[in-house]
Symmetry: C2
Subunit: 125 residues, 2 copies
């Protein structure tokens, strides 16, 4: 299997996360080799958290796991798409299905998607 | 308008490029502030080329311009989606509509999309 080019960007690659049925893009995350191996083995999306510098199982706290249905790689071997089933309310920690819930309305970013869960009920302190 | 966080990753942000009708993801590119301003002004996708360290009008050589229909931003203000009309054959310099033309078939990456143009006819040396 042709190797993913983790070296290009300091050991991580960007991962576009897409709903496998609607094709909506839910988030962009990053993987290092450890996250890639864990994702492929478990078929649950694992990422590398740049802010916390650690492996991160998506849904570990919220229960909003991502079940991997397919994985695509780009022509440069340095970007991935995960096609997933989003379990639970949504992918975004702010309570939306997608992290991309605002669009360019000319003079400002405008919310263009409904809130689907209350973050404070999902992320217990 | 809330500012895009270009500082987070050294002056650039990743941009997911999505067909505005089919929702297919065509490529991942990067923008700096100059590319962002040029894209918003002209409604043609401009990116920042990391390898060539310069502003890049997508389609300048190939004629395969990307007409911007909508722009979304994520919850962290550090990633964009461009929803576009892809003019010409495709987005990928290797002759495919999408740069993501291979998927994980278990033991190898397997081509899962048809070639739509011949690169040597489009990219004149």
């Amino acid at each position: 299997m042709e190797t993913i080019d983790f070296a290009k960007s300091g050991g991580i690659v960007p991962v576009i996360v897409q709903d496998h049925e609607t094709q909506d893009v839910l988030m962009l995350a990053y993987m290092n080799e450890e996250a890639w191996a864990a994702t492929r083995k478990t078929r649950k999306a694992h990422y590398y958290s740049r802010s916390r510098d650690k492996l991160w199982l998506k849904g570990e706290e919220s229960g909003h796991f991502q079940e991997v249905k397919d994985i695509l790689v780009d022509c440069d071997n340095d970007t991935l798409i995960l096609k997933i089933i989003q379990h639970g309310g949504g992918a975004c920690h702010m309570g939306y299905r997608s992290c991309f819930f605002r669009h360019d309305a000319g003079s400002d970013w405008e919310v263009c998607a409904p809130k689907v869960f209350e973050p404070e009920e999902v992320y217990k302190k």
